[in-house]
Amino acid sequence: MCKAADYLKEETAWCPGCGNFAIRQALAEALAELCLPPHRVLMCSGIGQAAKMPHYIRVSGFNGLHGRALPPATGARVANTSLTVIVESGDGDSYGEGGNHFIHTVRRNPHLAHFVHNNQVYGLTKGQASPTSELGMKTGVQTGGVISPPLNPLALALIMGAGFVARCFSGEKEHLKETMKAALVFPGYALVDILQPCVTFNKLNTYAWYKTRVYPAEGHNTSDWMAALSLSRQWGEQIPLGIFYSVPRPTFESQLPALEGEPLALRPFSPLDVARAQDEFR
């Protein structure tokens, strides 16, 4: 009934060969398979190549500021719990500029799917290191090579108490699509860190580099936190893909008494309803 093509729109402005294309396609397919009505899906994004996604997928969107995709997404969930909220973001966006929101949103646990296109580089601003760039990677700004060890987003999310943590590769589109679906329906904050080749600026972590390293983490128990942590810390010659952890805990929304019932945005209101509030000052 729902078709992936119906979720695609506009020409993209990405480089030919960019890993983002497959992510976009997987997302459109995931949305189609879940048959989510476009107007009731809200995609929040920051700024970057990844963050252009709201312009290329036909859903409602709030394309905000660099690093600030998660807070509006949280606010939107409060305003209207009937919206499916997706955050589309880059590694710089989510783990650099937006690092504080990342850790605290994990704690808060609103129901949203956070898709990070992790190309280990700043794409849109032409190739500076991101928090996930490999040690030694040389760039126009890191002229002597990166000297700070890369941030491990999955381990970080786990430590902060994330209920859903997964790693995908844009070159494994089916797996990506299925993982996206799982993240979308997961009740709570769900992180999918997607390895995404940037063919223009990341000459280290290329398609080939990833291809020879990634493997599906099979037979893994997704409710075993320690095992998830250890999978998330595997990197180098062998990089596991999969849902590492999936154990719901109470969401932000479910703990807010005001959100019981109809979405806030849809409730009628009159100032007279609250006139009694001034009685305490008498």
Binding site: E10, P37, A265, V274, Q278
Partner: protein
């Protein structure tokens, strides 16, 4: 009748002042209290000023009739302000007055409190003493204790209060005669932050995201306490950047949202303000000013952020700036802020300050039927399809739909320059159209700005300009000037931007001499006035030590120059 109550942080001056004030309000008096406190939790020196008149006063006085000195420092710091016929309530077991000072009313606050159940109630004893000194019965205060505390605690406090009342009565019976009561009908007693919190609640604000910062925290905690009962969500964000962006997300998705902070937190919101401007998302930001720069004086007052809020955020976009002048007005004006934000789809900044936030007064109850709560959303009946969030229109206002509101119609907001659909563009033509579309909204907005209030002579020779929380003080200064037969008036601005300039353009050139009084060091409002109208005020009266003006100093400054 003026009362100073002072002691160390943690001694509970606030509680005394509040209970005492409220008891007096219940008795039918007009009461005002202000707070002067340090940025610490215990120790140091804090005090409250309490002024009681027939009609609720608009400013506190420079002198005092009664000094409640919970420690010796209070006595030393404030004895000069106490009138010769004044009285000092103090604990003789804590310190003693100089032999020459015969104004003392020694009441063993601590000992009596202990007897009533615990020394923590020393301040309740003091309330009893003050009531007695004023010649008032303890009944109203006792009722308040019963409303405020659990039965056990209330009972102990009542004992303490009565003990204080009795002890003081022995010392001087009725030392003072109270002013007549002329306050009409039931009244409410609340401070600026509570009034703003109540206004937000009553304006349908459904989401507040904020990060604690003096002096705005009172709004935050007021609304937090209403969540369950009134169906709103209050979230403490990890920082102010998250606070403003969360509020924007909530607003975009369909609820009235706001954030509150002080100048330093607002600095972190400047980028988000610009985002609100670009995405045309309604947003109300209450900025409670305190002296800067940087951390400055966290618990004091200043009007130092006017320029900052006028120009904060990169790029050019329209905004409205309103201010809190006094309790009677601010409640409706914050409601106006919510209305303008929704109607014009833009950020509205509401400027308050510590002085306004922490000053409490008895006023007639608010009229909730005067509040507006229209959402100005696109309706199904007149929706042009396909829906475009930034449709170009004559007045620059694009019909606003919410995500999820209309089947098949997606809603896209964008921080990049965009076309009508909300999609990124880079061409010069669309850019030009969108800039003017956004700015065009200023025209209608300007027409909504209230002209300043003229108080005093309708054709003044002496024209005093002011804005924001100095209202009551400046008004008092005008009263003094008029009492000595000056043709003086106050022109007081409450809506600040777009600057309503009709009256000032008419009156200022006709005045013989003009003054602009501001709680800052550079005369920011005077500068704005000149930028917008070319008019120059003759004299600036500036105070920037973190304390409110005293109406006497305004009068002196004026008279020095006429």
């Amino acid at each position: 009748m003026n009362i100073i109550i002072g002691g160390a942080a943690g001694d509970g001056m606030e509680t005394i002042a509040h209970l005492l004030a409220k008891a007096l309000v219940r008795e039918g008096y007009g009461v005002l209290t202000t707070k002067d406190y340090m940025s610490r939790v215990r120790g140091g020196h804090n005090f409250s000023l309490l002024r009681v008149e027939a009609e609720t006063p608009r400013a506190s006085a420079a002198t005092a009739d009664i000094l409640v000195a919970l420690n010796e420092e209070t006595f030393l710091l404030h004895r000069e302000k106490l009138l010769p016929r004044g009285r000092i309530v103090f604990d003789p077991e804590l310190f003693s007055l100089p032999a020459a000072d015969d104004r003392g009313l020694p009441v063993k606050l601590r000992t009596l409190a202990l007897a009533a159940g615990g020394k923590i109630m020393a301040n309740t004893v003091a309330i009893g003493a003050v009531l007695s000194v004023l010649g008032l019965k303890p009944a109203a205060a006792v009722r308040l204790l019963a409303e405020t505390f659990a039965p056990d605690t209330a009972q102990q406090n009542t004992a303490a209060l009565l003990a204080g009342h009795e002890a003081a009565a022995k010392l001087c019976g009725t030392c003072f005669t109270m002013p007549p009561k002329s306050f009409e009908g039931p009244s409410i007693f609340l401070d600026g932050n509570q009034a703003l919190g109540l206004a937000a609640l009553a304006s349908g604000c459904r989401f507040l995201s904020a990060y604690p910062m003096t002096p705005s925290t009172g709004i935050f905690s007021y609304l937090a306490g209403k969540q369950a009962e009134f169906g709103l969500v209050v979230e403490q964000a990890e920082d102010e950047i998250a606070a403003v962006n969360m509020a924007l997300g909530a607003s975009f998705a369909g609820v009235r949202a706001m954030t509150c902070t002080s100048g330093g937190g607002f600095a972190l919101m400047a980028e988000g303000l610009s985002l609100a401007g670009m995405t045309e998302t309604p947003l109300v930001i209450v900025v409670g000013m305190r002296p800067g720069p940087a951390t400055g004086l966290p618990t004091r007052s200043e009007q130092g952020d006017l320029n900052f809020v006028l120009y904060a955020g990169h790029g050019e976009f329209p905004r409205a700036v309103l201010s809190a002048t006094h309790l009677e007005d601010a409640f409706y004006r914050l409601n106006k802020a919510f209305d303008l934000a929704d109607k014009y789809q833009m950020p509205v900044i509401f400027l308050s300050d510590q002085y306004f936030a922490d000053t409490a007064r008895a006023i007639p109850p608010y009229d909730f039927t005067r509040l507006r709560c229209e959402r100005y959303l696109a309706g199904a009946e007149n929706l042009v399809r396909p829906y475009k969030r930034y449709r170009l229109t004559d007045d620059g206002l694009s019909p606003r739909a919410l995500p999820g509101q209309f089947p098949e119609e997606t809603v896209l907001a964008d921080s990049d320059e965009h076309d009508e659909d909300g999609h990124i563009i880079e061409d010069a033509a669309t850019r030009g159209l969108m800039v003017s579309k956004r700015l065009r909204r200023l025209e209608a907005l300007a027409a909504e700005m209230d002209e300043p209030e003229l108080y005093g002579h309708p054709e003044p020779e002496i024209l005093l300009l002011g804005w924001g929380s100095t209202y009551g003080i400046l008004r008092e200064a005008i009263e003094t000037l008029r009492a000595s037969h000056h043709r003086a008036a106050l022109l007081h601005f409450r809506d600040l931007w777009p600057l309503p300039s009709a009256m000032v353009t008419k009156l200022l050139p006709l005045a013989k001499i003009s003054f602009c009084a501001e709680n800052n060091a550079t005369g920011q409002f005077a500068g704005l006035l000149r930028r917008e109208t070319g008019l120059t005020v003759d004299h600036k009266i500036l105070r920037y030590d973190g304390r409110p003006f005293d109406s006497g100093e305004i009068v002196r400054e004026v008279l020095k120059n006429v």
